[in-house]
């Protein structure tokens, strides 16, 4: 006799798991889980990190590079007055970006324009692949 459990063999177990999960507390889904939102890209020579920090002036943001991690931190100050509606984030924030390629640290540049922080991290030229010529003997 062939017992074919099929793909539903695990079903009772899965069902129990689902029911248990319903009772466990769920992390509340926030509209924007991490702040600031990042856009990380690279080309042949640079790594680019863009971050949206509307409302922050240049002096409100601190950029630190240590080892291979870029730290973006700062604070968004709340505005004065009587609030009727508040949707914009306030308070201090910090995000770490791990850069997995060697970076030429002295060549890092950062600019701010219209609420977007743009960090350009040049890749270390020492790590560029080099062709080794084979000499005839």
């Amino acid at each position: 006799m062939v017992i074919n459990y099929g793909s539903f063999y695990d079903f009772p177990h899965l069902f129990d798991k689902l029911m248990n999960d319903l009772h466990d507390p769920q992390p509340t889904a926030s509209r924007r889980a991490t702040f600031p939102p990042l856009y990380i890209s690279e080309d042949e020579t640079n790594v680019f990190v863009r971050a949206l920090v509307p409302g922050a002036a240049m002096e409100d943001i601190e950029l630190i590079i240590e080892d291979n991690t870029l730290v973006i931190k700062g604070e968004l100050k709340p505005i004065q007055g009587k609030y009727y509606q508040q949707e914009r984030p306030t308070g201090s924030f910090q995000r770490l970006v791990k850069i997995n390629v060697p970076i030429h640290k002295d060549g890092i540049t950062a600019t701010m324009k219209s609420g977007m922080l743009f960090v350009q991290l040049p890749k270390s030229t020492a790590m560029k692949p080099r062709t080794i010529h084979i000499q005839p003997r």
């Binding site: 856009y39 890209s41 409302g55 007055g81 609030y83 509606q85 949707e87 219209s114 609420g115």
Partner: protein, 120 residues
């Protein structure tokens, strides 16, 4: 993972997060609109409707290998109703650090006129 940012044909329309506060001199509306150029921001006030429209430009260029994309080019769109208390002639706006601030001054209240009743 390779994505081409310029592939995004139609940008999503988003309503920018807004703060609305009241101070002594009037109401202030703050809108987070990063990536917008001041010159390309359209701000209309018609009757009691205030509308804001602008497209972002983050300078996301093709040819970069994208590792993480938590934002993209959008079109900001917002509409507000302006209260009767606001002096619509004196509404002003400024754009700084990606935040649009709209100042809605309160209308000068006309002091109630007292009608004198002459006793005949």
């Amino acid at each position: 993972m390779q994505q081409m940012p310029n592939r995004i044909g139609k940008r999503p329309r988003v309503q920018p997060p807004a703060d609305f506060v009241e101070r002594e001199d009037g109401f202030y509306l703050y809108l987070d609109m990063p990536g917008v150029e001041k010159e390309k921001l359209i701000l209309d006030i018609e009757d009691d409707k205030l509308s804001v429209q602008a497209k972002s430009n983050f300078g996301l260029v093709a040819g970069e290998r994208v590792h993480s994309m938590e934002f993209g080019e959008v079109e900001y769109c917002a509409r507000f109703e302006v209260s009767e208390l606001v002096d619509k002639e004196k509404v002003s706006a400024k754009f700084e650090n990606g935040v649009l601030t709209i100042y809605l001054p309160k209308r000068k209240e006309v002091p109630p006129k007292r009608i004198r009743i002459d006793v005949l």
